[in-house]
Assembly symmetry: C2
Homo-oligomer: 446 residues x 2
């Protein structure tokens, strides 16, 4: 099965754990295998491979998520990167041309498309396999998965099927209805539209070429910014006559708010947390190294990360977005393809961060125009390249890099470095990248 | 007026802002002059000097508080340091001999003794001046201040006066009564015993020599650890026949718990805090650099520091102590006589801290046996002394000090340094102090 996972979202609703560079699908807060916590994307990957060990996964996403995906799934998935965000129709067109032109997938093969972020169980992925089979049988151009509603929701779109069979035709689509209309839909056997569907790759490419003028993946990638923002539902699904829907009745939750997210947690706490005996229905997630003590908390969600601290009544937590939008500060922690960084101290003319490089990984070879940097290695071993000169590094080693100095470091074992940045204009934009010198004997793997 | 301020307390009840080295009297959370926040001890100092600009203050305290007192009040007060904690009778005897033998105070002069931590207003200090005058008139050996009760408290000791006059004799003392007994005391015009009294220095010294065999301050200091733990109330006040009490009816609050402490705050928040419109009767103190967002919090106190985070219902917050006692971790922030330090990162074999040195101050000249240290200066200017060699330091300078290397730094302007400590056994005990070399031209002022 070929599967395109749509990975979007700015992640403001799960602040302070999610931020601009870490969407909710990357939060390692769900119970995984062997007692480890896993993220939504790690969970989805594991579930897909359990349902179909031969599945080929392509994650369609924006630039900001590439590091997190590589950090959590390494090279086990293909990544199709949108140069900028353009809604689902252009994103799916780009992913479809990636499958054809980059991965060489035959156009007759079936492709399943689904969002990365619903919280689901294994039967959902078994249903996706069935969806791929239905797409392959050629009896309709498009096959949707319709979720059996559990209540008359006003926040979902509805698929109105032609009958109540497990697999049926589609009569029409309806956007978010009011409560009374939603109740009427449920009486008529309507299904929630979860944005999950399957078709042959050929069909996706036909629709892409019908509405966008492009030659191949490379051409579409280069002109991606010119595409208009339009959803695949609107551009394709709702226009299509040759269409079927498969009913799915298992777990399907949107973990988009703290209130719903905490329901999927295994216990009430993650990290260093003490709840006294008078706490009730309270969930606490602590990513900091210091303890949280909660006393007499009722129906609350508390979350702490290096970006900030949320203390909220559970019901109120759904209204977080406008407050978080005002809090655009320094990103204090980020996962990168090569490891992670944590901001330890910010002053007017300096910033101190901790860099963790995973074994076998390295930074880009780069320099800064407006700041000096000083590395102090605190653990691990590796090789630094400083203005073309190689040197091995170990705990206690110090390297000073004035502005303009080209530098990188390769980790042999996990390498931890305290980096002090000094300058009047410290900014992530101040970074020039270089090719590694051909004779240095170092090769970047990531 | 000579005044002995008793400064004790381990500060567990106001965790995470107070800790072993920072008792509640040093928390800068009260509204001060010119829009600045001040601590209880800063507030008490300011109030005493307003009531009596000629007052001479001696703080009787333990070793751990000396740095904080010097940091907040510099050399404006005398400090009488108990080598170890022995309750109030030995502490007051030590302070009395300090007044006589170190400060040269004549024995005929009156001395007022009071705890540093009640939250009071200026009339309280005017009453202290009156108390000193009464002690000076020689009509009784001891004069107490009795607080007019505002409710039948079960947690205070009571003074039962001989009559209801403003100044009266004392009939007897009673310890924490039950509610019904407390009500009866109030009907009889009883007063709360706040541990505030005045007498001539001579009287204190007589009582000291009666019960402790010692020659002078130095002698008592050296044998201080042998003294038994006994309160001044028990050893002296309750035995004394020649005694009067002055009624005081103004503000007198114990800010010993979060519930009472927050009542003395000017607004509901300190630091980077957002309360949404659904929060009610909630106080938040944030010493961290990251924002706290509170939504739908009712009757809560939230406090965050580099030691930890408390999220508590206000009433529950009085039961914090046993939980905090279990959380004996690394002290993450401390005020020192020379400035402060903040722990930024703790790993198995390393610790990264930020050191802030105040202008004109310096560290002890010292070395460590089991760890290497690396300094990176991030702001300010000063002079370092490394194994006897002087060098000026400025932002960007790096100094590596292997184990055994003697080092210190003197700040010309406020100096900020990132210090990386590397070793298998990092501990505050691993510190050898040295005299500065006579020819180095540097003198420690603090």
């Amino acid at each position: 099965m070929h599967i395109i996972l749509l990975s979007g979202g700015s992640g403001k609703r799960l602040w302070p754990l999610s931020n601009d560079v870490r969407s909710k699908q990357f939060l390692k807060m769900l119970p995984g295998t062997e007692g480890q916590q896993e993220s939504m994307i790690m969970r989805v990957y594991r579930q897909i491979m359990t349902a179909d060990s031969g599945a080929s996964i392509t994650v369609a996403t924006g630039k900001k998520q590439v590091s997190s995906i590589r950090n959590q799934l390494s090279d086990k998935v293909n990544i199709c990167v949108e140069p900028e965000r353009r809604d689902t129709f252009p994103a799916i067109c780009l992913a479809a041309s990636h499958l054809r032109d980059v991965q060489g997938v035959p156009e007759e093969e079936a492709v399943v498309i689904c969002p990365v972020d619903p919280y689901v169980e294994l039967p959902y992925f078994r249903a996706l396999c069935e969806l791929a089979e239905l797409a392959g049988d050629g009896k309709s151009n498009l096959v949707l998965m319709g979720m059996e509603p559990t209540y008359p929701s006003e926040k979902y779109g509805y698929i109105i099927p032609t009958d109540r069979q497990r697999i049926s035709g589609v009569s029409t689509f309806r956007e978010k209805p009011d409560l009374e209309t939603a109740k009427e839909y449920l009486r008529r056997g309507a299904l929630w539209n979860g944005g999950v569907f399957a078709c042959k790759l050929k069909f996706l490419l036909e629709k892409a070429h019908e509405q966008i003028s492009f030659v191949d993946y490379k051409d579409l990638y280069e002109h991606y910014g010119e595409q208009k923002k339009i959803s695949f539902d609107y551009a394709v699904v709702e226009q299509e006559k040759s269409i079927r829907v498969l009913r799915y009745a298992g777990t399907w939750k949107d973990l988009g708010t703290w209130n719903t997210f905490t329901e999927a947690m295994e216990g009430n706490t993650l990290g260093r947390v003490t709840l006294n005996e008078t706490c009730e229905n309270t969930h606490v997630v602590n990513e900091l190294n210091v303890p949280i003590l909660c006393m007499g908390c009722k129906n609350m969600v508390i979350a702490a990360s290096s970006d900030g601290i949320l203390v909220s009544n559970k019901e109120q937590s759904s209204y977080i977005k406008p407050f978080v939008e005002k809090m655009t500060g320094q990103v204090m922690y980020a996962e990168k393809s090569w490891g992670s960084f944590t901001v330890l101290d910010v002053q007017e003319n300096s910033m101190t961060i901790k860099v963790v490089l995973l074994p076998g990984h390295s930074l880009y070879y780069h320099s800064h125009e407006h700041r000096d940097e000083i590395w102090t290695v605190i653990s691990g071993r590796g090789t630094a390249l400083i203005d073309g000169e190689k040197r091995t590094v170990a705990p206690g080693d110090v390297i000073s890099m004035p502005a303009g100095c080209k530098h990188t470091v390769f980790a042999d074992t996990e390498l931890e470095i305290i980096e002090v940045q000094l300058g009047r204009e410290i900014s992530v934009e101040d970074k020039q990248k270089y090719e590694l010198p051909g004779d240095c004997g170092l090769i970047r793997e990531n």
